[in-house]
């Protein structure tokens, strides 16, 4: 069977695979790919045997540091990170929810000071499986249902 690439191959860079379709644009935002100068290719609602549909993002000439990329685990917990060098897979890793989350999630408590002043939010991750983020300021817990990416 000939597999057709729905999103073109890149020579050097990073492929982020297995992103839930609904999270593709959130991942782009979290990694600031909307303001990068690198070539970015992405596809969403692609067929996936495992997940039904999935999204994929390819960033040319960019290799992420793990703390940088682990942030996306909040919205794409099963994402795979593939580093490409000379059109070949150089390494494959999975993402992990970090212990602390800075600046990307909004605190769900409307009365939290971070929603009033210009303050980067900070959360301690209380639980990774069933996502629970405790605000370092108001101490309230934001979960998957109440989580909004800034």
């Amino acid at each position: 069977m000939i597999t057709e690439l729905k999103v073109s191959a890149i020579e050097n860079g990073t492929v982020i695979d297995h992103i839930p379709s609904a999270s593709v644009f959130k991942v782009i935002k979290i990694l600031n790919l909307d303001s990068t100068g690198n070539m970015v290719l992405f596809g969403t609602n692609l067929e996936s045997k495992k997940y039904g549909t999935k999204g994929i993002i390819k960033v040319s000439n960019k290799f992420f540091k793990s703390d940088e990329v682990n942030k996306i685990a909040l919205v794409a917990p099963a994402a795979t990170l593939i580093e490409i060098r000379n059109f070949k897979v150089a390494s494959k890793t999975v993402v992990h929810v970090p212990d602390e989350i800075t600046a990307i999630v909004k605190c769900f408590n409307p009365n939290c000071i971070t929603n009033d002043e210009n303050i980067p939010t900070q959360f301690k991750v209380l639980s990774k499986d069933e996502l629970k983020l405790q605000c370092l300021y108001c101490e309230k817990v934001t979960d998957k249902k109440t989580m909004v990416i800034k």
């Binding site: 009365n111 000071i113 300021y137 108001c138 309230k140």
Partner: protein
């Protein structure tokens, strides 16, 4: 000097908390000492709380310190749109310590990051009010001689009362047993109950105050507010069942003392006030000693 703020009661270890209570007992014996003459303490009340502010200011004044500040944000540049960050930056240049009350949760933690001087949280929205917790602990210590192995009842609104949550958390380090009396709609949140369990302590839940009267050493009363009920009829049904009167104290332990964070409305009948078991006015006075202890400890005047 290392900057040390008190934002949340858990910022202090059990040992540090006990040291503050020890110092408070010293100030109770000798409340007027001129040991803060070289210090300026700012009391920034972004929302009014007369009792708490006067308690802090009395604490500083009795030690000879100077107080600057405001009791209401409407008379300040906050009204002109100044950010909390800027207000705190400026006032930390004028003072050696900032006492702050603010309607937003997390404001005190943020201020402690921005300020060059220590911050004492005098209440940040519905979040924390650690000096209330310390004065409650001091009151229990003064009346019972210990904080260990006590039976403590909390009565009323256990769901929204931050004083209750913080005190339960703090007493979980002291092997206490908790008797929780509240209407069904105002039960203690499960996260606080989980904290009790994690410390291998026991709690019992009741809806009837009579069921705990002869069991406990401390009866901590709180106010039930009408607006907490989704169904006004429900409030009307229960509103009189959490009122303490003098007759109810008949078969209680000798060492029982009644606490209340004040202000009270009608949840403790005035006929209780003359009973020797009523301790809530002394409790309010204890706030001054505890705040003297805290301020002098944080400023490094006492260690």
């Amino acid at each position: 000097m290392k900057k040390r703020s008190l934002v949340s009661i858990s910022d202090f270890t059990k040992k540090q908390q006990l040291r503050i209570l020890e110092l408070a007992a010293e100030f109770e014996k000798n409340p007027t000492q001129k040991i803060l003459e070289d210090y300026v303490v700012a009391t920034l009340f972004f929302e009014p709380s007369t009792r708490t502010r006067l308690s802090f200011e009395t604490a500083v004044n009795r030690l000879g310190g100077k107080v600057i500040g405001f009791s209401d944000a409407s008379s300040t540049s906050v009204k002109k749109g100044e950010s909390l960050r800027d207000t705190i930056k400026v006032i930390s240049n004028y003072s050696d310590l900032i006492v702050m009350r603010h309607p937003r949760e997390g404001s005190a933690r943020f201020a402690s990051e921005v300020a060059d001087v220590p911050i004492i949280n005098a209440g940040d929205g519905a979040n924390q009010h650690p000096t209330q917790t310390l004065l409650d602990m001091f009151s229990i210590m003064q009346t019972q001689g210990t904080l260990e192995n006590l039976h403590i009842a909390f009565v009323g609104d256990l769901k929204y009362g931050r004083t209750v949550h913080s005190l339960v958390m703090a007493l979980s380090n002291f092997n206490c047993t908790f008797h929780l009396v509240s209407p069904f709609e105002l039960k203690l949140p499960s996260v606080v109950k989980l904290h009790i369990k994690e410390n291998n302590l026991e709690y019992y839940q009741y809806t009837n105050i009579e069921d705990v009267m002869d069991k406990v050493d401390i009866l901590y009363m709180t106010r039930i507010q009408r607006e907490r009920f989704s169904d006004p009829l429900e409030y009307e049904k229960i509103k009189n069942s959490y009122i303490l009167n003098n007759d109810m104290l008949k078969n209680t332990k000798d060492n029982l003392r009644i606490l209340h964070p004040l202000p009270r409305v009608n949840e403790i009948n005035e006929d209780v006030d003359d009973n020797k078991k009523a301790y809530y006015f002394e409790q309010a006075l204890n706030g001054v000693y505890v705040r003297q202890a805290l301020i002098t400890s944080i400023l490094g005047v006492k260690s």
